[in-house]
Subunit: 351 residues, 2 copies
């Protein structure tokens, strides 16, 4: 297979972790006889510095023409405490999601048996946890009308959803549930919000098309509790953009392996893969960041091209690195920490 | 002191737990020489059945004329999976908050040393946790314009905040921080939402009036993670209505003592005290529900009347019941469970 991948390293530790994912992907491609062309492009603070904006048109073109996008992280502390900044790296992220139509953010949370004791939660609460959030990513309050009234004294944001937006993400949810345990949880706040009532009513209407899927409806506040109480009771969860932002981050803590969690964001055509962690500016340039989440994001990419063996080869070598202790300082026990680049080299060699 | 308290038992287990709080409050009043008049009124599903709506005017008048309101819980399963229900118990709650102007919801989360091992989180993560959320309760997306467009195919909700709404809750936050560890965390999503930028900018402007308070600003998704990782790093947190709904419920799990967590909702004049748990319909009428959260809510009420010794007497007797095992089945070890009413009797007797 010939794959044309857009490579958006972004800010902070982005370039370092992306490098390792490229090494590992190339090793897999070599082993299985594929050919990957990597097209690098700028995003985030790096793009603001170079082109004055965080998701330049040139970058967009490269993404549109690619079979998939591999993404590092964006964000830079110099923008964070300045509510008046006109251009922000995050805007690039939102623009990219919207322009590429990446409406479904897929965020698995699972435990690594060898790392389970790193979790803040007790072992018996999380053993066997293997859930997936589908977060709606191009609608809701992130993209609704917002602004100021009364000389800036009043601020407003609007959460808007059209039934078709709910249908397309719910469809992905039902389909994913069919491939897994056939349980789907729709997370909303239908006791207060009209947009949530539209979500609930739309999903309820779709139930008849998937008679085998058992659907539950839970309020977002209840899920925020139950996720920490009994995460292994959940399987597939679908939710709107803002609730998904909060709950997927909460869920990422459960396994104790936040630095290892991959994600995918997909649309009708576009596909983007990225680690869930941020740009971690304090570690940038030090060759110490954990590259495994990005490497596992590349595995999700191969999986979505139906290259299942290739994806499995990556997951296997990652598991091997964990059990053999070829890990960066965040996971190192008894002091033996490897550099980011060393972990990448080892993984590529052992594919 | 003469106290005139409105008593809103509500639905499900509400009446049973409220009964115990009344017993304990009366015992405290007797011991310290106060006189409490209780005025009962209907809310929730009970009020819908009796008066066709969940927060009738008559109830409102009783609350307005009271020095404080003691509240049980509302909610009934027959309304939950019906997005089209015209009258819902929750509407009564929202109407009550708005009409009484209860703009600040105060939700402490703390650990009971004797119960710490019940937490889903590991002991070393939660030991010493003692934080308070101030959730804005009468603004934001709960009360903004909402509706349908395009023949019902599009739904929208609006989150609106005026600077003065942020100021009054932030003021409470700064004042509370001054009485505690002088640390205040403002939780928002200022990298996306205009209303959050108004929050952040308003709090930043107020910092100079409280030079001793150290203020931090964190994004809601980050707090959703950090709350489960290191809850004991937080002290006072302020946030808007919807974020507060999600995060306070998440926080309630930390201590492992959800059934014991009290809350207060206060306005310029009105004050309301209620357990954080819901109406727990499965247990209604069985005399098994844990009354301690409601009893501790009564303690918060005495505290707010500057009756500190009275509040402390309640907390002491609750601690005593926990160490002596005079508890309901949810907390019972080795099988010795007491009835709701027995726990209440014991507490009243030992005040
Ligand atoms: C950076 C921010 C705009 C973004 C979001 O809220 O979507 C991030 O938190 C995420 O989840 O990818
Ligand atoms: C019942 C519901 C409307 C309410 C809310 O969301 O405020 C509840 O969850 C709470 O937190 O008191």
């Amino acid at each position: 297979m010939k794959l044309n991948i857009a490579l958006l390293a972004g800010d902070g530790i982005g370039p370092e972790v992306i490098d390792q994912a490229v090494k590992v992907s190339n090793a897999v491609a070599f082993k299985f006889g594929h050919e990957i062309t990597w097209n690098t492009a700028l995003t985030g603070a790096a793009a603001i510095d170079a082109a004055g904006e965080p998701y330049p048109d040139e970058t967009h073109q490269i993404c549109v023409n690619a079979d998939a996008v591999l993404f590092g992280a964006i964000g830079h502390p110099r923008f964070d405490n300045d509510p008046s900044a006109k251009v922000r790296p995050e805007q690039g992220l939102l623009k990219m999601r919207q322009k590429l139509g990446l409406f479904a953010n897929v965020r698995p949370t699972f435990t690594f048996p060898s790392l389970i004791d790193r979790s803040p939660l007790k072992r018996e609460r999380i053993e066997g946890t293997n859930l997936v959030f589908l977060r709606e990513l191009t609608g809701g309050i992130y993209f609704g009308k917002r602004g100021r009234l009364n000389n800036g004294e009043t601020a407003f944001d609007t959460c808007t959803y059209h039934r078709s937006e709910v249908q397309r993400i719910a469809k992905k949810g039902f389909e994913l549930a069919m491939k897994r345990s056939k349980r789907l949880c729709c997370v909303d706040k239908a006791n207060v919000l009209e947009s949530s009532r539209l979500w609930r009513e739309t999903v309820q209407t779709m139930e008849k098309d998937y008679p085998e899927v058992e659907v539950s409806y839970e309020f977002v506040d209840a899920v925020a509790m139950r996720l920490v109480q009994w995460p292994n009771e959940y399987d597939v969860l679908i939710t709107e953009n803002l609730f998904g932002d909060i709950l997927t981050d909460e869920a990422s803590v459960i396994s104790g392996s936040m630095g290892l969690m991959p994600s995918a964001s997909v649309g009708e055509k576009a596909k983007l893969y990225e680690p869930i962690h941020g740009s971690y500016p304090q570690a940038a340039g030090k060759d110490i960041a954990n590259p495994l989440a990005t490497v596992l994001s590349a595995a999700m990419m191969f999986e979505d091209f139906d290259l299942t063996d290739e994806a499995q080869a990556i997951r296997n070598v990652v598991n091997k690195s964990l059990t053999e202790g070829i890990v960066t300082e965040d996971l190192a026990q008894n002091g033996k920490a490897h550099k980011t680049s060393e972990v990448g080299d080892w993984l590529a060699l052992h594919i």
